[in-house]
């Protein structure tokens, strides 16, 4: 094993490597995916978790509604029903072998959470309580909505995140909070660690590892109206792209139908699960016209498109770009007991008392179905389909297994993050049982990261990062949002090039090393510009409508040509596409109606 000290690692103009840390496992991301993997791997190995925000500030904590599992605690439910709903929800693009794992292991994962101490809400018999959620049904879609979403009031993500953090403390996981991952160290298809930036003190740190896992989350922040945290900038995706690896199905972006007007802050689907109505300017429950059976509880892509259509056709409230979510008929007792956080959010951010008034809402960018292509044990593919990268894993929203296909069902993503985080942890344990040595660390391991920080810190152009970011977000919402069309996407493609030009001419106000958020925002914008191109070109490339991807110029699903996953690379500034087949086992594609 090569031993390398900081001196021998290549420095660029003044910023050197401050330290080299060595851990069996290095996990980037402290959301449910990262922490669940950490809990698993730390049973046996030395695990470090790096996160750009303090662990409990991770975005998973914002999830409200629930985590899916067919526990049958409240009424009859079956794995097969959950599987069918997920496959249908995915518009048949989900891989059915992965979905089968998802539904089979769901009850185990949820009960383990209870064993770890998560304070779930309870049924009168003392079991984990469950509620309804969009797209989750009885009897292969033939029955009504089923009680499948396990919940803790409307703070489900919060309790699961804190519980995992607590178990990590118990297991002695080593945290590096407020460290920003700058680059992956991959040579010859072997992952050897990552390079990070110590946000608090400033400084480059090399993390040398036998196994690296990414749980870096989603990228809602490339849109103007989004439910995602300010840190939801998809960094992990471009770190992977920059390492020469592909991304999968990036054109599929979920818009959630109930974002608080102008804020995008999420009103959980639990509001509709508990019986809330969506109404237009004429007071009509317009979902009657789009999904007569499932109404407000139809899947998100459908409800968001219906809402946007109402708005586009002038039936938004007062002709404006929002509709109403009406909870008044639920009564104050139910609202305060089951939806206390929603009541608080509507009050604090819109000054609306949802017991007495309807809440103004609009669709909000919410979830990224695509991501880093991985196998069922979360190991990352080098070519997107067959060849593997040794020692590199990914899970959660940044990864694409793919269980959500073209559209994710609510409550399936807390499940995916925890369940596949757990699987990644187990796979890493198996791998480390065989792989006892640290792979060699190349002498230039840190040079690209150092170069990037150095360049940004010394940038002295004229453009503000915030103004480029704002333009990006506006254009993405307008031209690559709920409805898409070739001309717009072509235009957007050109605009992205202009934004990249502008990015090369930025200035930053803060040139200091310690807690430099100005630097972080520039790094994040660089990431967003990198992978956004893949979203836009992917959307242009896929000439059909499926799940969350809707092309007004190709409004039908086209299984003949497009029942396949997109893989996309960036090579010398150009996007290159490849495809892989969808795994279909039990459920043959059918038309998707609700």
């Amino acid at each position: 094993m090569a031993t390398i000290d900081p001196e021998t690692i290549h420095d660029v103009e003044g910023i050197g490597v401050h330290n080299i840390h060595r851990h069996d496992v290095v996990i980037v991301g402290a959301g449910l995916a990262g922490l669940r993997a950490a809990v698993e791997a730390s049973e046996e190995y030395d695990v470090a978790v790096i996160s750009k925000v303090f662990p409990t500030r991770s975005h998973s904590g914002g999830a409200q509604g629930g985590i899916a599992a067919s526990l049958s605690n409240e009424e009859e439910d079956h794995l097969e029903w959950h599987m069918f709903d997920t496959v249908k929800g995915s518009d048949y693009l989900g891989d059915q072998d992965a979905i089968e794992i998802l539904v089979k292991e769901a009850p185990v994962v949820v009960r383990e959470f209870e064993h770890f101490g998560a304070p779930f809400s309870r049924t009168p018999e003392g079991r984990i309580a469950q509620r309804k959620f969009g797209g989750h049904t009885k009897d292969f879609g033939r029955g009504g909505p089923v009680l499948r979403a396990c919940y803790a009031a409307d703070r489900t993500g919060h309790v699961l995140l804190h519980t995992l953090y607590e178990v990590c403390i118990r297991n002695g996981v080593r945290f590096y909070p407020e460290f920003y991952a700058l680059s992956l160290i991959i040579r010859d298809n072997i992952c050897r660690g990552i390079v990070g930036w110590d946000v608090i003190n400033g400084g480059i740190h090399v993390f040398h590892a036998k196994a690296v896992m990414f749980g870096t989350g989603g990228y809602g922040r490339v849109y103007k109206i989004t439910s995602n945290a300010l840190s939801g900038t998809g960094d992990g995706l471009s770190l992977v792209l920059r390492a020469g690896l592909p991304l999968e199905d990036m054109e599929f972006v979920q818009f959630h139908p109930t974002g608080l007007y102008q804020q995008g802050i999420l009103v959980s689907e639990a509001a509709r699960g508990e019986g809330g109505y969506i109404i237009n300017d004429t007071g009509e429950r317009f979902m009657e016209r789009y999904a007569p059976e499932k109404m407000e509880l139809a899947p998100r892509d459908l409800v968001s498109r219906s809402e946007q259509t109402e708005i586009n056709e002038g039936r938004g409230i007062g002709g404006k770009d929002y509709v109403h979510l009406d909870l008044r008929h639920l009564g104050s007792e139910k609202i305060m007991k089951q939806l206390p956080q929603i009541h608080e959010l509507a009050w604090k951010f819109l000054h609306v008392d949802c017991i007495k008034e309807p809440i103004p809402i609009q669709p909000t960018a919410h979830y990224s179905m695509g991501g880093i292509p991985v196998d069922k044990d979360c190991q990352v593919f080098a070519d997107g389909k067959k060849e593997m990268v040794q020692g590199f894993y990914a899970a959660g929203e940044c990864a694409c297994v793919s269980v959500h296909g073209a559209n994710r069902l609510g409550t399936n993503s807390l499940l995916e993050a925890s369940l596949f985080g757990r699987r990644a942890g187990k796979a890493i344990r198996r791998f480390l049982g065989v792989q006892r040595e640290f792979p060699d660390l190349p002498p230039d391991a840190a040079s690209s990261a150092i170069e990037e920080v150095e360049r940004l810190l010394s940038s002295s152009g004229t453009e503000r990062v915030s103004s480029i970011r704002e333009t990006l977000q506006e254009k993405m919402s307008l031209e690559c949002g709920i409805f898409r069309e070739a001309d717009q996407l072509q235009r957007l493609k050109k605009e992205l090039r202009t934004l990249e030009e502008r990015f090369r001419n930025i200035k930053i106000d803060d040139r200091s090393k310690r807690f430099n958020v100005d630097l972080l925002e520039a790094l994040e914008l660089g990431h967003m510009l990198d992978f956004t191109e893949i979203i836009v070109e992917g959307a242009l490339n896929r000439k059909e409508s499926r799940g969350a991807h809707y092309r007004t110029d190709f409004p039908k699903r086209n299984d003949g040509d497009w029942l396949k996953h997109t893989l996309a690379w960036k090579k010398d500034g150009e996007i290159i596409f490849d495809y892989k087949p969808v795994v279909i086992t039990r459920f043959q594609p059918k038309e998707r109606t609700y």
């Binding site: 975005h59 959010l345 604090k348 951010f349």
Partner: protein, 237 residues
């Protein structure tokens, strides 16, 4: 003229000579803007070097606790216009070492969290293929405890913490009691261990600042009095 003047307490560790100072930024505050929106507006349009923590911008991640016009609050869920003052003074949370501008070092918060063994401790073997049962009434006993977002506002408001940086602090007590009060937990003694100490429970003088400061309306003082009873019970029993 701008509608508001933001007076922000600034400090750059790379410029020790300058030390802490107040800087004023004019801002036209729009209806609906939170304090965080205002700070972002200043950072993004006026001065990129202004530094503060933020993430969820919906009051759940606990990043953005700070002192606004003398009161600890979450910047992201405070509407600027409800403060009814055209001068808004923003300072870092009191009591913690300042890293930069509004960013404080929360190491003391994390250390005292670790001290109370903040995880469910059980001894009875777990049921296989099943959750443990807990009645809704038992579960309700941890309402008002489990919702803590670790923002640090409570402990920052506490004079006992100002005097003793090793003091466990209201957030630590709240977390300890969240487990002690949980019908599934069998580790009362372990959670209490660090509390029966000069940095522990007995340093609380029930000043109630923490109750006032908590942005989630939780009640650490109640947790403290319950824990004191538990300690006495442990000692006698």
């Amino acid at each position: 003229m701008a509608t508001h003047a933001f007076k922000i307490n600034r400090y750059n560790p790379d410029d020790e000579r300058r030390g802490h100072y107040m800087q004023e930024y004019p801002l036209d505050v729009q209806k609906g803007w939170t304090i965080l929106d205002c700070l972002n507006e200043i950072k993004w349009k006026q001065d990129g070097s202004l530094t503060f923590r933020r993430s969820c911008r919906s009051g759940i991640c606990g990043s953005c606790a700070m002192t606004v016009n003398g009161v600890n609050m979450l910047a992201c869920e405070t509407q600027a216009l409800t403060l009814k003052s055209s001068t808004i003074v923003v300072e870092p949370l009191r009591g913690y070492p300042v890293i930069k501008d509004l960013v404080v070092d929360l190491e003391p918060l994390v250390e005292s969290l670790y001290a109370v063994k903040p995880y469910l401790i059980t001894k009875t073997p777990l049921p296989t293929d099943q959750e443990r049962f807990q009645s809704p009434e038992e579960r309700a006993k941890i309402d008002g405890l489990y919702e803590c977002i670790l923002c640090g506002a409570c402990t920052s408001s506490c004079p006992s913490f100002w005097a003793d940086k090793k003091y466990i602090g209201p957030h630590g007590f709240l977390k300890a009691y969240r487990f002690v009060a949980d019908s599934r937990d069998e580790g009362t003694r372990e959670h209490l261990e660090a509390l029966d100490d000069k940095h522990g429970l007995w340093r609380c003088h029930t000043i109630f600042n923490c109750v006032e400061a908590c942005p989630k309306d939780l009640n650490p003082t109640k947790a403290i009095s319950e824990l004191k009873k538990e300690l006495v019970r442990e000692k006698i029993g």
